[in-house]
Symmetry: C2
Subunit: 133 residues, 2 copies
Amino acid sequence: MFSVSARTQYAIRAMSCLAKREGRSATSAEIAQSESIPAKYLEGILSRLKASGLIESERGKNGGYRMAKDPAEIRMLEIVEAIDGRIKPVTCVDAPGACSQGGDCHPRNFWIGLKTTIDAYLAERTLKDVSEG
Amino acid sequence: MFSVSARTQYAIRAMSCLAKREGRSATSAEIAQSESIPAKYLEGILSRLKASGLIESERGKNGGYRMAKDPAEIRMLEIVEAIDGRIKPVTCVDAPGACSQGGDCHPRNFWIGLKTTIDAYLAERTLKDVSEG
DNA sequence: TATATTCCTATTAATCAGATAGGAATATGG
DNA sequence: CCATATTCCTATCTGATTAATAGGAATATA
Ligand code: FES
Ligand code: FES
């Protein structure tokens, strides 16, 4: 429970790898090799990171991926949400009044509090913090 | 990601149900019915809660389960760990030096920090807080 | 035009959570 | 001693989700 998907761990490694290049680009294959990530699987991950605006890409010969911003400006929460979407400990976090207790459901408030706590932790640390310390 | 297992949600409902009885006992079947939990599945959950000392049981006719302590003394973390074990965002939380970075691995420290944050949240709230407010 | 790349879609494989099944052990009351 | 109600134990099945693979279309370069 509360475990981090392989996808997200791969994504963080890939982002760290790009961060080291300081703007220079790397191909999907290079990242896959350097970080030991299944190559084709990684493509799907980079695609999500790009969709969220964290990285940019060029295709064709000499193409590749590169950071879209300074690693110090990228919050870990952004990476996590790019890959797995909003954190939802329980499905009813976005559904007030889902159970019999109506709007003021204590268990729901409890889980929302947890989500808020996790979000805060992830938002106050950046890729720079995590990849180099 | 970071989602709470159905088992743990069932466990919390079951504990709340027992908490309402203030020491009086209830059978597995009664709890299952009252909380809409698959009966046979619930048996396995109650068994883990008992193994962790959160509830007690008698078997045979007139048997059943009852709270082993005051709900105000039961931390939510205890319930979660009784069901799903220690929280481990990544497998290496208990394996220092698992990756190439050796003992001082920044990503690992990052995830351990998250674990600590989640643990703290869950430890500072009790069953009483969550079941009645 | 050959080649290297991203990008898109579909499929397969592996893993795990959720649920079910059957019955052994045990306690109670008649 | 027996019928019954319960916990308790172990095995299995199922479905959902994640992880991974496959194939090729689109695009850029030289
Ligand atoms: S709304 Fe989710 S438990 Fe009440
Ligand atoms: S020890 Fe887990 S990532 Fe380094």
